[in-house]
């Protein structure tokens, strides 16, 4: 019997597969496809202090081996996320989840984190300082080590739940960013967010996305993500949660071997609504091939 359990931030996950923020709504949408209780946990849609519509359409575009998005953190605002969305999720998912927090200012990040700190359904808070689609916020906090560590230090003073910082790949050295936020008290790191990209409509000679550019995700980013996870795992001693282009159980195993304690699956959920379920069901066979009974044994095996 394969043991898929992993421990993350004091919480035992029945398996390491977590749908990534922004690709799984607030979870209950997928309960129409399958019983989502099979999931290790869920990283909820990015949440801000007030309601946001996000960016103008078109805000998605396809590209080779992936897609671009410039959604811009559409959400109902933290109060309604807790009172409405998480309530709906509770009815279909029994384990605890990860809240994902976005913002435009230090004050906004802190306020939203404090609200989730009081929410029992949430066992950890993923700090999104790497969203490329929010003007004057998001990624602006995630490309400068000093700005990022100041934000994390302030949040850590005010919030009890573990803080996982989601890093941007759009930096010179992601390891430096990781060390900076670890130094400021981050409890874990998740990576990678999307890579900034663009598509142009040749008929109009204008970018397809209304915002001009967006974040590239999907199968194409997998090797880039894997290398960054490998490097960050070497640079820090806190747990690393990996994501970026994972579309199969084999990808998930590679990512754990690179150093990930758990693996988030993103874009593949949008292509195949059963992606996470199928990956979880295939993991034992992949582990069997490499004669491994406990999945936790492979974390960082490639280091």
């Amino acid at each position: 019997m394969t043991d898929l359990k992993v421990s993350l931030l004091g919480h035992t996950l029945k398996n390491p597969i977590i749908p990534a923020s922004g690709t799984f709504g607030f979870g209950y949408e997928f309960a129409e496809w399958y019983d989502i209780n099979c999931l290790g946990s869920i990283s909820l849609k990015g949440t801000t202090l007030s309601e946001r519509y996000g960016n103008p359409l078109p805000r998605v575009a396809e590209c080779s081996s992936g897609m671009l998005n410039a959604i811009g953190l559409q959400n109902k605002g933290v109060d309604k996320v807790i009172s409405e969305e998480i309530e709906k999720l509770k009815a279909v998912y029994s384990d605890k989840v990860i809240a994902n927090v976005g913002g435009h200012s230090e004050e906004e990040y802190i306020s939203v984190c404090e609200k989730f700190d009081g929410c029992d359904k949430v066992f950890a808070i993923e700090l999104n300082i790497s969203c490329p689609n929010v003007k004057g916020g998001g990624m602006a906090f995630g490309v400068d080590p000093t700005v990022a560590s100041n934000l994390v230090a302030k949040i850590k003073k005010r919030v009890k739940k573990p803080i996982m910082v989601k890093l941007s790949p759009n930096v010179t050295s992601i390891s430096e960013m990781a060390k900076a936020v670890e130094g400021a008290g981050a409890d874990a790191i998740s990576l990678i967010n999307t890579l900034v990209g663009m598509r142009i409509d040749i008929a109009t000679a204008k970018p397809i996305l209304a915002t001009g550019s967006g974040g590239y995700s999907g199968k194409g980013v997998f090797p880039v993500a894997l290398k960054m996870i490998y490097d960050v795992k070497k640079a820090v001693s806190i747990p690393v949660v990996g994501m970026g282009g994972v579309s199969s159980a084999k990808d998930a195993v590679e990512m754990m071997m690179a150093g990930a304690t758990a693996v988030m699956v993103g874009t593949q959920n949008l292509i195949n609504p059963y992606a996470c379920k199928e990956i979880i069901e295939t993991l034992p066979a992949v582990l069997n091939k490499i004669k491994t009974e406990k999945i936790s044994d492979i974390i960082g095996r490639a280091q």
Binding site: E32, L57, V60, E62, S64, N69, I271, P273
Partner: protein, 240 residues
């Protein structure tokens, strides 16, 4: 919503860039609902509304607009296709006893099956199909069993002028309209009537409410075209 592996039964060209693909066998859809077809070599599925359903097989009407639909046009009978079916809310046919169905160009796509569903209920719909020019109405013979009025911008088929002008010219007796077409056409409809439903379209990634890629503004807040729509009350939609 369901993931189904369907067989391509036929895939024929109606014009140089307009095709009809029949897939089966599948469950009975609600008119106005759409499906998402996976095309080999492309990341995202392609969304199409249900054009027709014969009790076993479903047909989609599509225009070759890019590389994905070009690849689709080359799919052969007998080939398997990975399809998400039963997506979106669909038209509510209980809302009308004198329906007027309005299609702009390829916006006629959801109206054939809708017209058949009304007839199944014993209600005879009236259709108004408009386009820029006659060749864009290459599917018109599929509607030959129904009462159809037409218009074209250049007068090559039916009334010469816009769909709204053509409709105003006719003074048809209807209680609700059901429309699909370009955003500009849909936007112009309230100047004709605000008693009706429109099928919206948007670039979408997932097609089932997860990515928020296709959200629009409505009188009752943000709505996802794929999940809360694609059918909306025309009075609800706030056009940008």
């Amino acid at each position: 919503m369901k993931q189904e592996i369907l067989t391509v039964k036929s895939n024929i060209a109606l014009a140089s860039d307009v095709y009809k693909m029949t897939l089966g066998e599948c469950e009975k859809p609600i008119p106005g609902q759409f499906v998402e077809i996976a095309v080999d070599g492309f990341t995202l599925r392609r969304p199409f509304c249900v054009y027709d359903y014969d009790g076993k097989n479903m047909t989609v009407l599509y225009k070759v607009l890019g590389e994905g639909t070009k690849a689709m046009s080359k799919m052969q009978s007998g080939q398997k296709a990975d399809v998400l079916t039963g997506l979106g809310n669909g038209f509510d046919i209980e809302k009308s006893s004198k329906p007027l169905l309005i299609g702009g160009g390829l916006g006629a796509a959801p109206l054939l099956y809708l017209a058949k569903c009304f007839r199944e209920k014993g209600i005879e719909p009236v259709l108004f199909l408009g386009a820029k020019t006659a060749s864009e109405l290459c599917f018109l013979s599929d509607f030959k069993d129904f009462k159809v009025y037409t218009s074209t911008d250049d007068g090559s088929e039916g009334f010469k002028g816009t769909i709204v002008d053509g409709l105003k010219n006719l003074s048809l007796d209807f209680d609700r309209f059901y429309a699909c077409g370009s955003v500009n056409m849909l936007k112009s409809l309230p100047s004709f009537s605000d008693r009706g439903y429109i099928s919206m379209e948007a670039r979408m990634a997932c097609g089932f409410g997860a990515c928020m890629g296709c959200s629009i503004h409505t009188a009752s807040g943000t709505k996802r075209v794929c999940k809360d729509g694609p059918i909306f009350d025309v009075k609800e939609v706030i056009f940008d």
